[in-house]
Amino acid sequence: MATKASRSAARLMMAPAVVLLLGWMLVPLIMTLWFSFRTYLPLRGGDQGWTGFDNYVRFVTSSAFWPAVQTTLIIVVGVLIITVVLGVLLAMLLDQPMWGQGVVRILVIAPFFVMPTVSALVWKNMFMDPVNGLFAHLWRFFGAEPVSWLSDAAMPSIIMIVSWQWLPFATLILLTAIQSLDSEQLEAAEMDGAPKLKQFYYIILPHLGRAITIVILIQTIFLLAIFAEIFVTTGGAFGTRTLSYLIFQRVLESQNVGLGSAGGVYAIILANIVAIFLMRIVGKNLDN
C-alpha cells in the first residue's frame, strides 16, 4: 500500500543494511567453506592446496571430537533443564502478590547484565577456589573437605555458572508470559473445582508453552556458542572442551585453519538446525 516513489525509496533505505549483513554472512562463510577443503597451516607452510573432505573426516574422527560433542550437549541440556524448571517456578513466585516486587525482580534479573568474563572469574575465584573460596569456607564450616570445583567437578561447576547467568533471562520471559495470562481463566478453573496443581498443569503450563519453546531455542543458540566462561575458568581442560572451544583451539591455538574451518562448518550446520525451528515460531508471530 504505497506509491512507486516510496517503494523505491524503501528499497534504497534498506540497501545498506541488507548489503552489510549479506557481506557479513557470505564473505566469512565462503572463506570458511574454502579453507575447510584445504590444508592450511599458517605457521607451518601456509596453504598447501586442496584436500577434499579430509578435514571433515579428520575433525570427526579425532579423539577430541566425540567428547566435545558430549560436553556441548551436557552443558546445553543441563543449563536448559535448570533454567527452564527454575525459571517457571520463579516466574510463578514473582507473579504472586507481595511487597517489594519491583526490587525482587531487579535482584533476580541482575546476573544477566554481568559480563561473562566477570561472572566466570568471580565464581571461579571467590566462590569455587578450593582454599579461599566461599564454598571452601562453607564446606569447612560443616566439617567437610573443600572441593576443587573447577578441576574435580568441572562440568557441574560450569553448568552452574552458566545457569546462574541465564536463569534471569528465562525467568524474565516466562514472567512476562505468565502476566499475560488472563486471571479470569484461573478463576474459571477455580470455579470448576480444579485444584492448584491441576490449574498449573492444564492452564498455566499450556499458556507458557510458546514462551518456553522460545526460551529453549534462544538459549540453545547462545549456549552452543559459550566461550568466555570456559576460556576464563578451565581453558577447556578437565573435560569442559565444547565443540566451539575445540574449533577455537584448532584455529587460533594450533593454527590448523583447514581443520578448524571444517569444524566451523559443522557448528554452522548445527546452529542452523536450531535456528530453523526458532525462525518458524518468530515467523508465525509476524503474521498476526
Binding site: A2, M31, N125, N285
Partner: protein
C-alpha cells in the same frame, strides 16, 4: 487483575521471594562488598560479611595499575560507536519494512535474524584474516564494525516492532503536508519513536558491552575493552580477591544500572517480539 490474598499469604510470598532474590543476587553483592575490603579481610576465614574496615584502596590500585581508564574508554567507544552506527543503518531499513512492506519483507526480516544465529566460531578465522589484511586487528574501528554487524539484526528487529505501532496515517499526513521523505523520518517518525529508539540503544549498548567472543579474540592491547581487562585477571591477580572485586564492580556497575532501566524492553528485544 490482582487477586486478593490474605496478608499471611502475602507475607509468606514476600519472604520466600526475597530470600530467593537475594540468593540469586548474592554473588554480585558479595563482589561489591569484597571490593571494599582489604586483601586480608577478603580471604579471611570465616568470611566477613559487613563488619570490615571499608576502604577504597582497591579501586585506586586497579585504576593505577592496569590503565583501567583506557579499557573503560575502549568499552564505551565500542559499545557506543556500534550502537550509533547500527542505528544510522537500521532506522531507514526499519522504516522501509514497517511502512512500505512488500511480500518479501517477512523473509528479509527472518533472514536478517538468521545471520545472528551464525556461530561466531565458525567464521572466526576468516574474520581474523580479513582484520589482519585490513589492518583492523586490535583497533577500535574494527570492533565497532563487528559489534554493529552482530547486533544489527536485533536493532532492526526492535525498531521494526516499535515502528509498526506508529499509525501509517500520521506519516501520510506529513507527506500530504509537504514533508520530504527525509523530513518525514526526521521530524515525525524519529520523535514519535524516541522511547523505542532509546530502549533499542540501551539493549544494544548492553549486548555490545558484555560481548566476550570477538572482543577477546580480535583485540590485544590497544583496543581491548573491559571484557579483556577482566579476563586478564584470570591469573594470578585473580587471587587478590579485593582487587578482582573492585575491577569487576567497575566493569559491571554501569551496565547493571542501564540494564535495570531496560528490563521491559529486554524481553521484546531478545525474543524478537515473540513474547510481549
Amino acid at each position: 487483575m490482582a487477586r486478593a490474598v490474605t496478608p499471611r499469604r502475602k507475607l509468606i510470598n514476600t519472604g520466600f521471594a526475597w530470600a530467593i532474590g537475594l540468593l540469586i543476587f548474592f554473588p554480585i553483592l558479595w563482589t561489591i562488598l569484597t571490593s571494599f575490603k582489604t586483601e586480608a579481610q577478603a580471604i579471611a576465614s570465616p568470611p566477613i560479611f559487613l563488619n570490615f574496615d571499608w576502604t577504597l584502596e582497591n579501586y585506586g590500585v586497579v585504576m593505577e595499575r592496569s590503565n583501567y581508564a583506557r579499557f573503560l574508554w575502549n568499552s564505551i567507544i565500542i559499545a557506543g560507536g556500534s550502537t550509533i552506527l547500527g542505528l544510522i543503518i537500521a532506522v531507514p531499513a526499519a522504516w522501509s519494512m514497517a511502512f512500505v512492506p512488500s511480500r518479501r519483507t517477512k523473509d528479509i526480516l527472518l533472514w536478517m535474524l538468521s545471520t545472528k544465529m551464525l556461530p561466531a566460531v565458525g567464521v572466526l578465522y576468516p574474520i581474523y584474516l580479513l582484520f589482519i589484511q585490513m589492518g583492523l586487528l586490535d583497533s577500535r574501528a574494527g570492533l565497532v564494525i563487528v559489534m554493529m554487524l552482530i547486533n544489527l539484526p536485533i536493532i532492526i528487529w526492535m525498531l521494526y516492532t516499535y515502528f509498526r505501532e506508529i499509525p501509517v496515517e500520521i506519516l501520510e499526513a506529513a507527506r500530504m503536508d509537504g514533508a520530504t521523505l527525509r523530513e518525514e523520518v526526521l521530524y515525525i517518525l524519529t520523535p514519535m519513536a524516541i522511547p523505542g529508539i532509546a530502549s533499542t540503544m540501551l539493549l544494544n549498548f548492553i549486548l555490545a558491552w558484555n560481548e566476550a567472543f570477538w572482543t577477546l579474540n580480535l583485540t590485544a592491547v590497544d583496543a581491548a575493552p573491559l571484557t579483556a581487562f577482566i579476563a586478564s585477571y584470570s591469573s594470578p591477580e585473580g587471587l587478590f580477591f579485593a582487587k578482582l572485586s573492585a575491577a569487576s564492580t567497575m566493569a559491571i556497575a554501569p551496565i547493571l544500572i542501564l540494564g535495570w532501566f531496560s528490563q521491559k524492553q529486554l524481553v521484546r528485544g531478545l525474543t524478537f517480539g515473540a513474547v510481549k
